[in-house]
C-alpha cells in the first residue's frame, strides 16, 4: 500500500471512531442509548494504529472502552449503533450494550466491564494459535488500571513462560476513573516493572496511527522471531469523562491538569492525521468527501438503529447454554 493510501485508510479509521462517538455525544441525552458509555475520544490512534498493524485474522480482546477497536476491526457502525440502542440488529442483539461490544466473527472475541478480565482470555486465544500452529498473534487491549490487578501479572508471567503469541496493549491514559497512576503504582515505571519479565517491551506516546501501526508490525515480527510476547505501553489521553458523554475539563478537582489536556489536544490524532493527508497532497475536496461519506453513513446508522426493532421478550431466555 502506498503511504497515501495507508494514510487515508488510517484517517478513515480514526474518523469513523471519532465521529461515531460524537454521534453518541449528540444523542446520549435523549436517553435512548440505555447503556453506560466509556468514550474513546482522544485515544483513537491506539485502536486505529494497532488494529491496522495486526493481521485481520489476529484475535483481539478489549475492555468496556472498546468502541475504538470495534470500529477499527469490524467496519460495522450499523451493528455498533444497533447494539447501543439495544436493538436486535446489534452483534449481541442488544444484550451486550456498549460495555461488552464484540464481534467474534471478525476476531474481536470479547470485551468486558470488569477491569483486567480479558487479559487471561487472550492467553487462551493465544494458546489455541500455538496449539494449532496458526501463526497468528492475539492482541489484548487494557487500560493502565488493569495493571493494578493481580491477574495481569499472572497473565504476563504465563505468556512469557509459555512464549504465547500475545501482544499486551496497555492503553495508558494515566487514569483509572479519577485516580491517577501515581496514586496506584508502587513501581518505578511501567518499563521497569514489566522489564523483569521475559518479553519485549515497546513504549510510545505517539498519536500518529501509522507510527503505532509500524510499532505493532515490528512488535509482531519480534514476537514471531523468538516467541516472546510483547508488552506495548501506548500512552494516550481521553478528553471525555470516564463514563458518559461530557468533555472532562474538571481541572479544579486536581486529578488532571489543563496543560496536559492541551498538550495532547495539540497532538490530536484525528486533526493531525488530516493535516498529514493534506501534506501528502490529498486534495481537501477528497478529504472532505471522505468525511461526508462517514458522516452520512453514521447518520444513517443512528437513524436506522432508532427505528429498528427491539428483541422479543423470548430473547431473554436464549443464549444461556449452547
Amino acid at each position: 500500500m502506498t503511504a497515501r493510501a495507508q494514510a487515508l485508510t488510517l484517517y478513515e479509521s480514526l474518523l469513523l471512531i471519532r465521529r461515531a462517538e460524537e454521534k453518541i455525544q449528540a444523542h446520549y441525552a435523549e436517553d435512548d442509548m440505555k447503556t453506560p458509555v466509556h468514550l474513546y475520544i482522544g485515544q483513537e490512534a491506539v485502536a486505529a494504529g494497532v488494529v491496522n498493524g495486526l493481521d485481520p485474522a489476529d484475535p483481539i480482546v478489549g475492555t468496556y472502552r472498546s468502541h475504538g477497536i470495534y470500529l477499527a476491526r469490524t467496519d460495522d457502525p450499523e451493528g455498533f449503533f444497533a447494539e447501543l440502542y439495544g436493538r436486535v440488529g446489534g452483534p449481541a442483539k442488544g444484550k451486550a450494550g456498549s460495555m461488552h461490544m464484540a464481534r467474534p466473527q471478525d476476531g474481536l472475541f470479547l470485551t468486558s466491564a470488569v477491569v483486567a478480565t480479558t487479559i487471561p482470555v487472550a492467553l487462551g486465544l493465544a494458546f489455541t494459535q500455538q496449539y494449532r500452529k496458526t501463526g497468528r498473534s492475539v492482541a489484548a487491549f487494557f487500560g493502565d488500571g488493569a495493571m493494578d490487578e493481580g491477574v495481569f501479572w499472572e497473565s504476563l508471567n504465563f505468556a512469557c513462560l509459555k512464549r504465547l503469541p500475545v501482544l499486551f496493549v496497555c492503553e495508558d491514559n494515566g487514569l483509572a476513573i479519577h485516580t491517577p497512576s501515581v496514586a496506584r503504582r508502587g513501581y518505578k515505571s511501567v518499563a521497569d516493572a514489566v522489564g523483569g519479565f521475559d518479553c519485549h517491551f515497546v513504549e510510545s506516546e505517539s498519536t500518529d496511527p501509522a507510527e503505532i501501526s509500524d510499532l505493532t508490525r515490528d512488535a509482531l515480527a519480534r514476537q514471531r522471531e523468538d516467541g516472546r510476547p510483547v508488552f506495548m505501553r501506548l500512552r494516550c489521553y481521553r478528553y471525555v469523562e470516564h463514563v458518559g458523554p461530557r468533555e472532562d475539563r474538571d481541572f479544579h478537582l486536581g486529578y488532571r491538569r489543563e496543560e496536559e489536556f492541551e498538550y495532547w489536544r495539540a497532538r490530536d490524532p484525528v486533526r493531525c492525521q488530516r493535516e498529514r493527508l493534506i501534506k501528502l497532497g490529498v486534495p481537501e475536496a477528497e478529504v472532505a468527501a471522505l468525511e461526508t461519506k462517514i458522516d452520512e453513513r453514521l447518520s444513517r446508522c443512528v437513524a436506522e438503529a432508532q427505528k429498528a426493532p427491539f428483541p422479543e421478550p423470548e430473547e431473554l431466555h436464549r443464549d444461556v447454554l449452547a
Partner: protein
Amino acid sequence: MSQLSYREAVNGALIQEMERDDRVFVYGCDVADHKRIYGSTTDLVERFGPERCFSTPISEDAMTGMGLGAAISGLRPIHVHIRVDFLLLAMNQLANMISTARYMSGGDLSVPMVIRAVVGRGWGQSAQHSKSLHSVFAHLPGIRVVAPTTPNDVKGLMSAAIRDDNPVVMLEHRWLYDTVGEVDEGDAVVPLGKARVVRAGTDLTIVATSWMVVEALRAADLLAERGVSVEVIDPRTLAPLDEESIVASVQKTRHCIVADNDWSFCGFGAEVAAMVSERCFGQLGAAVSRVGWAFVPCPTTRCLENEFYPNANDLVRAAERSLGLDAMDLSGFDFYTYENRFKGPF
C-alpha cells in the same frame, strides 16, 4: 427525626462512627475521588484526612486481605466496592480467610471489618454489574450479611455493623440511594439480626429483600384495593436470619411469597422458602413461592432488562395464585416508574 436520603444516611453513619472511633477507616477504589461512591463517602477525606479515607489501586484481592490484617490488629476497616460483582475477585479472602480467621485461631482473633458493596439496577448495567451475591456470602459461616432498604435502616445498621466485632457485608441497592425517609437522630443503632415488619397484614406474607421491598409495598397497595391484606417483612439482616419474625408472620397469614433481589435457584429465596415450609408445615394455605430474577445473565437492552427483573406485577400474580384469586386487571398500571426516572450514564 430528620428527613434524609439513603445516600445521606450512609454518609451520616460513616461520619458518626469515624468521629466516635478513631480505629475506623474507609478505603477502596475511588472512595476519595469527587464522585465519592455516589456521594456516600462525601466529606470523609476533608474531615478525617487521607489516612482514614483513601482510594486504592484496583486490587480487590489484596485490598480485602489488607482489611483482614488491619482488623485483626486493632483497626476497624470499611472496604467499599462500587459494585458487588468486584467482590468475586475477593472471594478467596472472604471465604478462606475472613470468615475462618476467628475459628482457626480458636477465638483469639476477631475481624471487625465492614465490606460495603453497591448492588442493583442502574443504567444498562449488564451481566457483570448486576449481581447481588448475598446468598453466596450468607452461605459462609463466620460472616454477617446486611441489606438495608430504608434511610433509617441503613444508618442504624451501618453503625451496628461498624461496631460489631465480626465481618459484615453490607449491600446497598443503587436505586435506593435517592429514596428519602425519616432517620432517627443521634447514634441510634438498628440491631443486627432483626427483621422488620414494613407493613402489617393478615392474608399473605411477602418476605422481600433489597429493592424487592419497594416492589412488595407497591404490590401490597394494589392488592389492598381488592381487599387483600399483605404483610411485608424485610429481613434486613440476611445472615444470621431472624427466622422467628418470618415464621410468626406466616403462621398468622398462612401464605408466603419470597421476593428476593437475586436469582432464585440455590439462592436466599430458597433458604427462606425451605425454612418457612419446614417450620410452618401443616399451617400453610398454599405452597411458599419464590419470585426472583429470570435465570439468565442480566441483559443490557432495557426491554429485556425489564423482563429480567420481576416487579410488583409479578408479586400481585404470585399473591393471587397463592390465595386462589382471579387475576386482577393491571392494564394501565405502569410498573416501570423508577426505571424512567433513573438516568445514565451509570
